[in-house]
Symmetry: C2
Subunit: 190 residues, 2 copies
């Protein structure tokens, strides 16, 4: 997606190897017009595939996911990050270990907002090691729902996220793909 | 706002005294069409007041705030909840104690996304004790910016949030106002 790629080139900040910050338009300050274009593009990519719900993981993916849901005309479900297992019969939970941030959390979904009839599109900001997305997949499988795919704004091609997901039969759509983050440059894969 | 009020009546869940859950359409599953109507209503209420940015606190206010920002044509800034003070010259931080959840966090804003020229509208889902909103206010004042007001979807009239904010000269706009949460009923103030 050209508008996003240009914006990453112009405003993406490299903080040491592999750390790309996009805080000025995605993760802290949010360019809402760009998020709407991103959401529309995701909706177009997955149109006609019977998506019933969009799932995102709090909180960086919410803004683009809101617009993807709006253009697809489906509800959005925000998967929660809890610090510990909650004693409740009505939740699906799975532990996610984030290598990037060196923390783990219980990805949490109320059983009320998923059924075995759902066909779910996962939307997130980054795909790197794929921990969050595979956590979301585990929750979807626990509920015997199906997965339409994963849409991300930025894929780090040099990390194993895509391979992990494709091995499990998940269609991955990345709007931009970064093949290398050098000290001073961001190299796109295509 | 009638559509929101009707939805709270139909789907709001009372869990003990004072705990109102709106997880089926605001906080966990998100009715995006309703969030768009809510965002448009907030934008209309504050139009012509020179708002330059919308601030929200992660993560429950993001969905309505995204649409308010879209209809006002201004950027959104998501204030972050950090567990501890970060050693950085480039951040504004202030401690917020959440009585509702019995936790405290450092509300965090990069200095890059606020200036003394900004006139800021704060958007959040609930107004109860006003801790999060007054934390946002402190950050805005540290940066010598000004406040256009606070817009919330649901105000708990029986808690002191509005009084605290109005004492400080902040215009509060609540789309729905709840005067009482009984064991089995939600009573609206108007």
């Amino acid at each position: 997606m050209d508008a996003l790629k240009e914006r990453i080139k112009a405003e993406g900040k490299l903080l040491g190897e592999d750390i790309l910050k996009v805080d000025s338009f995605i993760n802290h300050q949010v360019d809402v017009e760009l998020m709407e274009a991103i959401g529309r593009d995701i909706a177009e990519h997955f149109q006609g595939q019977g998506v019933t719900k969009i799932f995102t993981i709090e909180s960086s993916g919410i803004a683009p996911a809101v617009f993807a849901a709006r253009y697809m005309g489906v509800p959005l479900v925000i998967l929660k990050k809890r610090s510990s297992k909650t004693l409740s019969q009505n939740l699906w939970q799975t532990e996610v270990i984030s290598y990037t941030k060196d923390v783990s959390y219980e990805l949490t979904l109320s059983k009320d907002y998923i059924s075995d009839q759902d066909h779910i599109l996962i939307v997130d900001d980054f795909l790197a090691n794929g921990e969050a997305a595979t956590g979301a997949l585990r929750l979807i499988r626990k509920a015997h729902a199906t997965v339409a795919g994963l849409a991300v704004l930025i894929e780090k091609v040099y990390q194993p996220g895509r391979a992990k997901l494709e091995e499990q039969g998940v269609a991955v759509y990345a709007q931009t793909r970064i093949s290398h983050c050098g000290e001073h440059e961001i190299v796109f894969a295509e």
